[in-house]
Amino acid sequence: MSVKDRDIKELSEGLAGEVSRFSEAWGIFSKNKLALSGLAIFIAFFMIAVSGFFLTAGEEPLLDPAKVRLSEKLLRPFTSFDVEMVRPEDRPVFGIYLFGTDDLGRDIFARMMQGAWVSLTVGFVAVGISIAIGIIMGGIAGYYGMYRMKFMHLLCMFIFLASGIMYASAENGGAFIMFMAGTVCLLLSVGYYFFYTRRGADIPVFRFMFFETITADSFIMRFVDIMLCFPTFFLILTVIALLPANIYNIMIVIGLTSWMGTTRFIRAEFLSLREQDFVAAARVMGISDFSIIFRHMIPNAIAPVLVSATIGIAGAILTEAGLSFLGFGVPPPHATWGNVLSDGKRFIFDAPWLTFIPGISILVVVLSFNLFGEGLREALNPKLRKR
């Protein structure tokens, strides 16, 4: 044992042992029974969804969610199949219908397994999109917030946007002209910028390009305010109904309409982190902005994002189920929990399992995400610990 190690040992005798952040958070988290059970259900759901994907995918799946057996309509859960009527290859895997069948004789167990994968991917991809946008927007607003946008930035942005809009409304000629104008504008301002900074040449005509307008922070945060004014579910419904129906559109649209909370969190965290010593030290060491943001600041700002992501997944699963319920979800042969429930609602008095099985599944999964997220919030937030 070297001298130094002994010194440290002596010095730290009366102090509490060093505890890493993770194990400290885990210590708090594991005391919370609700959150723990949430985590357990979350892991179970994850495995069910992944196995559901492998069991129901492909040409000859083990569990076929789309197999129609007209003789086996609306059977109760745990009924066995009719040996005379069902062809051998159409028989359910376990010899019984675990969750019963629907009005077309499709196996609800297979449909639920397929739907679990849909719910999982919709939740994760939608929240992934919203977190990515939120981190980028919040990071810019928090880190470069003081930067005043020049007139040329706004001008280029406006021209390119207009060109995109014209392209979308099938005015290709106008779109092309606008696109060229935007490019010319961009090149001019970049060229002028280089001349100005390198040579010191000043062309008064172009000086208006560098008029300072609003700050980047207020530009982004006003946009957040605008997005928050939309009635979210109604907006999602509108866009989904107008776009061609497929699962990717749902994920993207839910993601694009739910990034505002993350942006606000990240911005608030960045505003306080930016002033701290370790960021100043990193800047003094000449580390690039990119790695300051991604290596040093984001790991310190990630806790509230993780919490809102977990709760966001719950919200996305509920939104997808609501859309499927209204008939705008994933197109028909594909099963989701929302459209199993929506198909079954016509038989609510004759075949209540068609409503209750998907309904309770959605409830349990969403509840587990919410409980897990709240437990995480408690474990990661030092302010809540004492209470």
């Binding site: 004014c229 009635p231 609501g322």
Partner: protein
């Protein structure tokens, strides 16, 4: 105060302008055109299509369509594409129907969540606290359409009353009392369902706010003086915990439209949400856009009211 009001008003006006542009673009740039809603219909000739497009300004460039749409909206001449009725008249009628649900739901929310939240905060860690916490999460997590069907089965089986629609078919000739009772029955389920999420969130918020307050020094002083616990909690603590909720009166306004789509569709309640849903199905752009616009106006008005209320109740705040 006055300068704040004026400044905020103009800021909100600018926000509203951008919202109008974005929602217009979202709806109008979506693939497909409302004139093609029924392409297989043999009665729909090419000339009809042309006339349709001309009638609804669909042949004009986009910025002209935008201008004409909002000009018609503000002069009250905007017509629904589906049945050629004035949009504002249709919306006002549906708005009043939704208002009923909204008022009953809000009253239920506020009457339930305050007692629950306060009790949970006072008896922190008790069985009551833990069970209300758990139920709050259940209420947030339950899909409203699923819960709606469970309630419908329960009510129809146990009380034998119809709950779909706004009133029972053929009731118009009945006496005033039975009409009122009938309306009440129809009102209860959708408004309770609309209120559930609000109850869960608000009671959690009340609990957190009360917990914040009852650890303050002046509460300890009040207890030390020997005041009864009712007086300490309801007179000293609650009044101070109430502050953020006064401002929430403004923020509940947007609830009038958001989130009512599913509930109103299930209960066949002729309100705004269901009208929006039907308009989306029929690609009735004027109605979709107008509902969006009204929703945005409600959000902005709500935040404005809550800002002003905040200043009124808390004299320390100067905006």
């Amino acid at each position: 105060m006055f300068s704040f009001a004026v400044r905020s008003f103009f800021q909100k006006l600018i926000t509203l302008f951008f919202i109008s542009v974005i929602s217009f673009l979202v709806v109008y740039l979506a693939p497909g055109e409302p004139s093609q809603i029924d392409p297989m219909n043999p009665k729909f000739t090419v000339e009809d299509l042309e006339r349709f497009r001309q009638e609804f300004n669909l042949d004009k460039p986009l910025h002209m369509q935008y201008y004409l749409y909002y000009k018609n909206l503000f002069t009250g001449q905007l017509k629904s594409w589906k049945d050629n009725q004035p949009v504002l008249g249709k919306i006002v009628e549906r708005f009043i129907n939704s208002l009923w649900l909204f008022i009953v739901g809000t009253v239920i929310t506020w009457c339930l969540s305050f007692p629950v939240g306060i009790q949970a905060a006072i008896n922190r860690g008790s069985v009551f606290d833990r069970s209300t916490t758990f139920f709050a999460y259940v209420l947030i997590s339950i899909p409203s359409f699923f819960f709606a069907y469970m309630l419908i089965i329960f009510v129809v089986k146990n009380f034998n009353v119809p709950v779909i629609g706004m009133q029972t078919f053929g009731m118009s000739g009945a006496g005033a009392f039975s009409q009122v009772m009938d309306r009440m029955w129809h009102l209860v389920l959708p408004s309770v369902l609309g209120a559930l999420g609000g109850i869960a969130l608000l009671s959690r918020y009340v609990r957190a706010q009360m917990l914040e307050v009852i650890h303050q020094d002046y509460i300890r002083t009040a207890k030390a003086k020997g005041l009864s616990s009712d007086k300490v909690y309801y007179k000293h603590a609650f009044r101070n915990a109430l502050l953020p909720f006064v401002t929430m009166f403004g923020l509940i306004l947007p609830g009038l439209i958001g989130g009512s789509v599913i509930i109103e569709s299930i209960f066949a309640w002729p309100g705004m949400g269901r009208m929006g849903y039907e308009a989306i199905l029929a690609r009735d752009y004027p109605i979709i856009l107008t509902i969006n616009f009204i929703a945005a106006v409600l959000v902005l008005a709500g935040t404005f009211i809550s800002d002003v209320l905040y200043m009124v109740v808390d004299p320390r705040i100067r905006l």
